[in-house]
């Protein structure tokens, strides 16, 4: 349910594993590689490279799952994150949430994505025609995250 992998992500796989008749909805967020950079709006992004502290990243993803279940006890969640070199349009992350009703599905999926961006040790490098640079995400507020 929670994995960090160099293999291309299969959206159907993440979604289908959550399909069960107790749920009335599956909300999925699919992150894809964008050809523009916030840091360098003048330069097209050619590709991106994701690096991860894999053991910790998978642990943090599982922890996000536990936190989601504490807040929305009736949902089931899967999070898959790709690492390595990705080209434009490829899928970098899939977060799928199955829930009895849509409201908690949208809320839990959105919460999990924000948490991932703040706490999971994965790093993105944008590659341009004339160079490359690591993206600095949302700063960690304190160490005890």
């Amino acid at each position: 349910m929670f994995k960090v992998t160099e293999e291309p992500l299969n959206i159907d796989n993440a979604v289908e594993r959550l399909r069960a008749s107790v749920y009335g909805a599956i909300v999925a967020f699919v992150g894809i590689v964008r050809g523009s950079s916030r840091g360098r709006p003048d330069q097209p992004v050619i590709a991106v490279q994701y690096d991860a502290y894999r053991e910790m990243a998978e642990r943090k993803l599982r922890l996000i799952g536990e936190e989601v279940r504490r807040q929305w006890p009736l949902v089931e969640i899967a999070i898959h994150h790709r690492i390595g070199r990705l080209i434009l349009g490829e899928t970098s992350v899939v977060i799928a949430v199955a829930s009895p009703h849509r409201e908690e599905g949208f809320a839990a999926c959105s919460w999990a994505l924000e948490r991932l961006k703040q706490t999971v040790p994965i790093w993105k490098k944008e590659i341009f025609a004339d160079g490359e640079s690591w993206v600095e995400g949302e700063a960690l507020s304190g160490r005890a995250l």
């Binding site: 994701y50 991860a52 502290y53 994505l113 490098k125 690591w134 960690l140």
Partner: protein, 81 residues
């Protein structure tokens, strides 16, 4: 005591090192180990203010005491998603 140190992303590229060992006295804290790493890898100095560490794959406070065999990771600002 021996501490395994791991560096990722921009820190790995700045130092040219992804995995190394630190030999420190008993009672060394996370902050103490970070200070030693900045001496060993001067290019980390520019990140010194915002260095975030993890011990055994969990975010750690600067005052945490390290144990022999711990894995200390330096965590650059994350940007997954």
């Amino acid at each position: 005591m021996k501490i395994r140190v791991r560096l990722f992303a921009s820190y790995r590229e700045a130092t040219g090192v992804s995995d190394t060992t630190l030999d420190t006295p008993e009672g060394t804290t996370v902050d103490g180990a970070l200070a030693e790493l900045v001496v060993r890898f001067p290019r980390l100095a520019s990140y010194r203010q915002g260095l975030v560490a993890a011990v055994n794959a969990e975010y750690a406070e600067g005052a945490q005491r390290l144990q022999d065999g711990d894995e200390l990771a330096l965590i650059p600002p994350v940007s997954g998603g």
